[in-house]
């Protein structure tokens, strides 16, 4: 088990490095970073000087290896654009995105799991169709549009919630709902399918036959088994939300990691992009492990095997 885990970790690390090198090269292909740093009105002399002073005149491989060497010692370098230490910026932004991702996931699970369970208990009824409609809308609705609609009603018209920033927990409600609603359908469908399969299995029939209370059968016996694939899915979705919250962060003026990634691409801030790619890649790896651990906790058979 340990050897397997270490092997997977090694592969994941290589993937992260490959991704980081590819993104490094791609950013260069999209234009000269000295241009980005110099700004729109820069003259030829400005750009030449910036290239020299900031070291963009070195071969790209040398720049990459320099960066990699430092990164391995925990130093992600210096942001060309923000003119500050990359690591400190990323660790400033990370808690914001983590909070947003966690709240969105909590919202998605709180909505999707009960809906999925109810739909599975009463298949092909009005309730089931309602749950499926919620799911279809969630999938069809672009999150930016949903966000703007919420801003219009909840922010401007009724003035119930603050629109931008991260000042209090109230600020997180609209962005979390907008971000979380997007993953609700997948979780709901998986819960529904899992529950329907489990509810028709022999051991549930046995449990019922023993005369156990329906609630106990539903939560203790059925849901615990049906939820295992949902845990794995949620971990992946959480990773997706960390990287994919760019639009939501932009709309609600939340300065998190997603927004930082977008801005860094725009302005050709190579060290920042590198660090973000690496941090996000590492998050995916960690999340997969966490999902495995959670699954083992929920399903003793995994622990034994």
């Amino acid at each position: 088990m340990l050897v397997y885990a270490l092997k997977r970790l090694g592969v994941a690390g290589l993937v992260a490095l490959t991704v980081s090198f590819l993104s490094f090269s791609l950013i260069y292909v999209s234009g000269d970073p000295a241009f980005a740093l110099a700004g729109e009105t820069a003259t030829e002399a400005d750009i030449e000087n910036i290239r020299r002073v900031y070291g963009f005149d070195r071969p790209i491989v040398v720049q990459y290896l320099d960066w990699l060497g430092s990164a391995l010692t925990g130093d992600f370098g210096h942001s060309n654009y923000l003119n500050t230490d990359v690591a400190s910026v990323i660790f400033d932004r990370l808690p914001v995105t983590m909070t947003l991702g966690a709240c969105a996931l909590a919202f998605a699970l709180a909505l999707a799991i009960p809906l999925g369970v109810l739909a599975a208990m009463r298949p092909n009824t009005l309730l089931d169709r309602f749950a499926l409609t919620v799911a279809v809308i969630g999938q069809a609705l672009p999150s930016f549009w949903f966000a703007l609609i919420m801003i219009f009603w909840l922010g401007i018209t009724w003035r119930l919630l603050p629109i931008t920033g991260t000042a209090s927990w109230l600020n997180f409600i609209m962005p979390s709902v907008a971000l979380g609603y997007y993953i609700t359908p997948a979780v709901m469908r998986l819960t529904r399918a899992g529950m329907m399969e489990v509810l028709s299995s022999d051991y549930i029939r046995t449990a019922r036959a023993k005369g156990l209370k329906p609630v106990r059968v539903l939560f203790k016996h059925a849901l615990r088994n049906a939820i295992i694939p949902v845990v794995a899915l949620s971990a992946v979705q959480f990773g997706f939300m960390l990287g994919g919250s760019i639009v939501i962060e932009t709309i609600f003026a939340i300065n998190g990691l997603g927004f930082l990634a977008w801005e860094s691409i725009q302005r050709g801030d190579l060290p920042m992009m590198q660090a973000i790619v690496l941090v996000l890649a590492c998050f995916y790896i960690v999340l997969t492990f966490v999902a495995d651990l959670l699954n083992a906790f929920l399903d003793p058979r995994i622990r034994v095997s």
């Binding site: 740093l37 003259t43 923000l82 003119n83 500050t84 909590a106 219009f152 930082l260």
Partner: protein
């Protein structure tokens, strides 16, 4: 165990973000909150060249001179008087009794330190054009200083009034070092002499400023009426507007025309359209380096010029403060005259010219652009009407400028803001002096501009610019399009007047 872990993580995350305070906006809090879409972390006008830092630079720092927007004159600011000793030496008598935000007294040593620091290329000031005309500064006595220029540079006063801000002596000496051992000058705490002082910086999110109550009374900028100023980054225009409508922020700009018109119907919002120094132009591949040879023929260039309805773009897309341009500069710049060959909208004439040039059935080409896609799309529509099929290549600025430098664009539609410098040397002088931005490299134009950029006689300069601009427009190296206009939207509580150089003077704003 896992439940506990999850709870702790969630709590920790909340605590981490709960520390971020949200300043209130508006008249009741005496806090003017303004917002743009750009993130600002480095609060130093030499190490951040965004428009936001040009604005904050003028708010937190003072230069030696001040440009009076009404008269166009350069008035003393940190200087009390100035004179040209010779073509390359400017002497300033400095104002006494001025203090920096940290309490230190301003004198000649600060000017000498600042000029000598920024003029040194190795310090990596981002916009070299703002400072590289200065060679060094010398102290004459405690309140007299001389700035030596590298060569005669008539736009010196414009740069001194707008882009050369005075820092206290030794300001950058204590700059922290980066991991690579380079000095991080942008990380130095901002200290100036200006009407507002920086009180708090939340990187990437907000910059808070408070009125400098010790600001010197004689300053032409005047003592600010509003107590606090906060800059916030909100990238999404819809969100900016939502915050403006709900009173979360007081001032935004760059609002698209249609949305500005909608906002203007709201009683709590004032909308204004004001001119800016940014100009729009189309440049032709006059030398055929892109592989498309059509534009080497002047008749084809004329056909393009006659085909585009610039007035319609101005009226329908840009806004009432925009004007059609005939010359390759902004009308507010010194030396810029619009009295040059002009090309009116005449699609029939365009068709006839194309026929004469041998393109009776039109031709296909590429047009490159990076900004306000809809303006370029309007151009494409006009060109299509006379038979020129122009395929839009829309890309990021830096990628496009690279292509332009390599001469790979048959037509490119771009813009230029001149760094808000009101002198034709910052536009015409930049684009037609034979460098990589010069599409034509016409030796006669280069010669005229070189002379205009280095002599100090204003009348002679005007003559030289007129001659150069006439050749540029006459030969159609460029088709000057229009000047940009910006829509500003702000709280009706705010008494604010936009200025044509895109540097909002928040220190002159008041509450109604």
């Amino acid at each position: 165990m896992i439940r506990k872990l999850l709870t702790t993580t969630a709590l920790a995350a909340f605590v981490a973000v709960a520390g971020v305070g949200q300043a209130m906006a508006g008249k009741a809090d005496d806090t003017l909150v303004w917002s743009t879409d750009r993130e600002v972390t480095v609060v130093d006008p030499y190490f951040n060249n965004t428009r936001e830092l040009v604005i904050i630079g003028n708010t937190v720092w003072d230069g030696l001179l001040f440009r009076n927007l009404k008269t166009g004159d350069y008035e003393p600011l940190l200087a009390e008087s100035y004179e040209w000793i010779d073509n390359t030496t400017l002497e300033f008598k400095l104002r006494e009794g001025v203090t920096f935000h940290d309490g230190s007294t301003f004198d000649a040593d600060d000017v000498v330190y600042t000029v000598n620091f920024v003029a040194d290329k190795d310090h990596g000031v981002l916009t070299q054009a703002n400072v590289d005309w200065m060679d060094h500064a010398e102290k004459v006595d405690q309140y007299t200083v001389r700035i030596k220029l590298k060569e005669p540079f008539p736009a010196a006063l414009a740069y001194l009034a707008q882009a050369v801000f005075i820092m206290p002596e030794g300001h950058y000496d204590g700059a922290p070092e980066t991991a690579e051992g380079k000095k991080n000058y942008g990380a130095v705490e901002p200290v100036g002499t200006g009407p507002y002082k920086v009180t708090n910086v939340v990187p990437g999110e907000r910059i808070e400023m408070a009125r400098n109550d010790d600001y010197f009374k004689a300053s032409p900028k005047g003592m600010p009426a509003i107590g606090k100023l906060t800059f916030r980054t909100i990238t999404e225009m819809n969100t900016q507007m939502a915050e403006l409508l709900t009173g979360g922020i007081d001032w935004i700009w760059d609002v698209p025309k249609e949305q500005a018109e909608q906002l203007s119907e709201h009683p709590d919002v004032t909308v204004e359209n004001a001119k800016t120094m940014r100009i729009s132009y189309i440049a032709f591949d006059v030398n055929g380096t892109s592989g498309d040879e059509q534009f080497t023929d002047k008749k084809v260039r004329e056909a393009v010029a006659h085909a585009i309805n610039r007035q319609s773009i101005v009226d329908n897309l840009v806004g009432p403060a925009s004007v059609v341009l005939n010359a390759a500069c902004h009308p507010d710049q010194f030396g810029c005259t619009q009295d040059v060959p002009a090309w009116d909208y005449d699609p029939e004439k365009a068709k006839a010219l194309l026929k004469e040039a041998g393109y009776e059935n039109g031709f296909e080409t590429d047009i490159y652009a990076y900004r306000q896609r809809e303006y370029t799309e309007a151009v494409i529509g006009d060109l299509a009407a006379v038979g020129i099929k122009a395929n839009l290549k829309f890309m990021q600025y830096r990628a496009l400028r690279d292509l332009v430098w390599k001469g790979e664009t048959p037509l490119h539609h771009m813009t230029w803001g001149s760094n808000s410098i009101p002198d034709a040397s910052a536009s015409t002088g930049h684009f037609f002096s034979g460098g990589r931005d010069d599409p034509a490299k016409d030796p006669k134009v280069t010669e005229l501009l070189a002379e205009a950029g280095t002599i100090t006689d204003p009348d002679k300069r005007k003559e030289l610019y007129k001659e150069a601009l006439s050749i540029i427009s006459g030969e159609l190296y460029w088709l000057p399009m229009f000047s940009y206009a910006k829509y500003y939207a702000f709280s009706s509580d705010l008494d604010f007047t936009p200025t044509p150089d895109e540097i909002p003077r928040f220190y002159t704003a008041k509450w109604n």
